[in-house]
């Protein structure tokens, strides 16, 4: 799957789970500091991303995914 498609799918999840505005999402945005996604919502985002992209995101990997770009790259290389 192309990175653009992964990013688009991730945006849908962030809108659904955390109420993020789609236009606010860029690759360099931090989930916590820029998009105000808290730790509880990050767990939901991860579970939905796992289902959507057929990827496993263990908790210790999730902790390293600080930005949208981190998540897109992780999914692209592990899906």
């Amino acid at each position: 799957m192309a990175n653009e498609d992964i990013q688009k799918g991730l945006v849908d999840i962030l809108v659904e789970v955390a109420g993020v505005e789609a236009d606010d999402v860029d690759l360099d945005k931090s989930f916590v500091d820029d998009l105000d996604v808290d730790s509880l919502s990050m767990v939901e985002v991860a579970v939905q991303a796992e289902d959507k992209f057929g990827v496993k995101i263990p908790d210790d990997e999730l902790a390293n995914l600080k930005t949208v770009g981190d998540a897109v790259n992780y999914i692209a290389s592990n899906a």
């Binding site: 789970v17 109420g19 509880l40 919502s41 939901e44 796992e50």
Partner: protein
């Protein structure tokens, strides 16, 4: 503790009669019932003897942002809806967050979340269990979310005393203000458990009306034909503040929370003490802390849930603690029994009765139980200029709360 001057400066509610205070009040005076058939498949699926309830007039999901609604149990949703209205009604007072308290009670809390997430765990496994499960089911959730919403740093509390919880929250707020801890408290109750298991449990305890073919006539406090309560849902919130603080900011004042009284029956886990002595103790305390005499109390907004035993015990309590003179009404005839929200919504009704000098009627009172021996408003609202009114709330566990209000 000195007797503080506590005034009511804001009201908020969402109920089976309306999505706010004004529509609820208008519907009460118009004699409308909030009771109807339960719009779900589970009453039939489980062959429940109860098929009726007083469901919300306005779905909270229609007035909340989608993500807010997603993160909150229904009882938390209604708490925030009512709190926003109350806060705005009070003029959104500006104050030091450390001088703002929040006290919101619930009887059962996020039982719907607990049950739904347990189903998910059983059927889909751990991954599908929401990380929000615990904050959604915890009974302090409604208080916590209202506290976050308003930025309260003066103390956020959640009394849990079944159907007395909403009233107990108001009593707690009074004590916080009396102790000088804070200047303003948002206090109330929230409940939303019109779901299969709570209804099944109440039905098995034989406490609910089964008048399924006549929903609007099912809740009939003090009537000889009463056969149990009708479950309701909703929330009520009051902004209470120290009178000096309200005066200094030029706040509109609905009335005064003049006194509070609490007691316990020490009798039975669900049944009321039949002579009403436990309830009477709470009423006497409320009148005493208000500096009133029983003769001053011209109106009682009764707890009266439409159960055969409870209504008669409360009537006895009113007669022994106050006398036969107060004009009585029972809002659960229209609103159903909102459990932990009931005391707060009915406190709002009491305040508005004093403020507007009119007492809403008790619906379905066609044949007053001769054991009641009180003047219960039936058929239409009654105009009444009042010196003081008492609002009763009692809960499973033998919890009794009485609130005394003056105009």
């Amino acid at each position: 503790m000195t007797s503080p001057e506590v005034v009511v400066t804001g009201l908020g509610a969402t109920t089976p009669l309306g999505g706010d205070v004004a529509s609820t009040w208008d519907a009460l005076l118009a004699g409308r019932s909030g009771v109807g058939p339960i719009n779900a498949d589970w009453p039939e699926r489980f062959d429940l003897p109860v098929r009726i309830a007083a469901s919300l007039a306005v779905e909270p999901t229609d007035v909340l942002a989608r993500v807010e609604a997603r993160r909150w149990d229904r009882c938390e949703q209604v708490a925030v809806v009512a709190a926003r209205e109350a806060w705005s009604d009070a003029g959104a007072p500006e104050l030091d967050p450390e001088r703002l308290g929040v006290v919101v009670g619930t009887g059962i809390g996020g039982a719907s979340t607990l049950l739904a997430q347990d189903d998910l765990l059983e059927t889909a496994g751990l991954r599908k269990v929401s990380p929000l499960t615990v904050p959604m089911l915890m009974p302090n959730g409604p208080a916590a979310w209202v506290g976050l919403e308003l930025g309260s740093k003066g103390g956020v509390h959640a009394p849990v005393s079944a159907c007395a919880s909403g009233a107990e929250a108001i009593a707690w707020a009074y004590r916080m203000l009396a102790a000088g801890e804070v200047d303003v408290v948002v206090a109330g109750g929230a409940e939303a458990v019109i779901t299969a298991l709570p209804v099944a449990g109440f039905a098995q305890a034989r406490t609910m009306s089964t008048r399924n073919d006549e929903p609007e006539r099912a809740s009939r406090p003090f009537d000889t034909g009463r056969d149990g309560f009708v479950l309701g849902e909703g929330a009520g919130m009051l902004v209470l503040e120290r009178a000096e603080f309200a005066a200094a900011r030029g706040a509109k004042v609905y009335g005064r929370l003049a006194g509070i009284g609490t007691s316990a029956d020490a009798h039975h886990i669900t049944g009321p003490e039949p002579t009403g002595e436990g309830a009477a103790r709470a009423i006497r305390k409320a009148i005493r802390t208000a500096g009133l005499s029983p003769e001053d109390v011209g109106h009682v907004n009764a707890h009266a849930t439409s159960t055969p035993v409870g209504d008669v015990a409360e009537a006895a309590a009113i007669r022994t603690a106050i006398g036969e003179h107060p004009v009585v009404t029972a809002p659960k005839s229209a609103l159903g029994h909102m459990l932990g929200a009931a005391g707060a919504v009915e406190a709002i009704v009491t305040v508005l009765s004093l403020h507007h000098e009119v007492i809403p009627q008790t619906l379905n009172l066609e044949d007053l139980d001769p054991k009641v021996q009180l003047d219960v408003v039936a058929d239409e609202p009654r105009k009444a200029g009042l010196t003081a009114a008492v609002n009763d709330s009692f809960g499973f566990g033998g919890h009794n709360v009485a609130l005394a209000f003056t105009p």
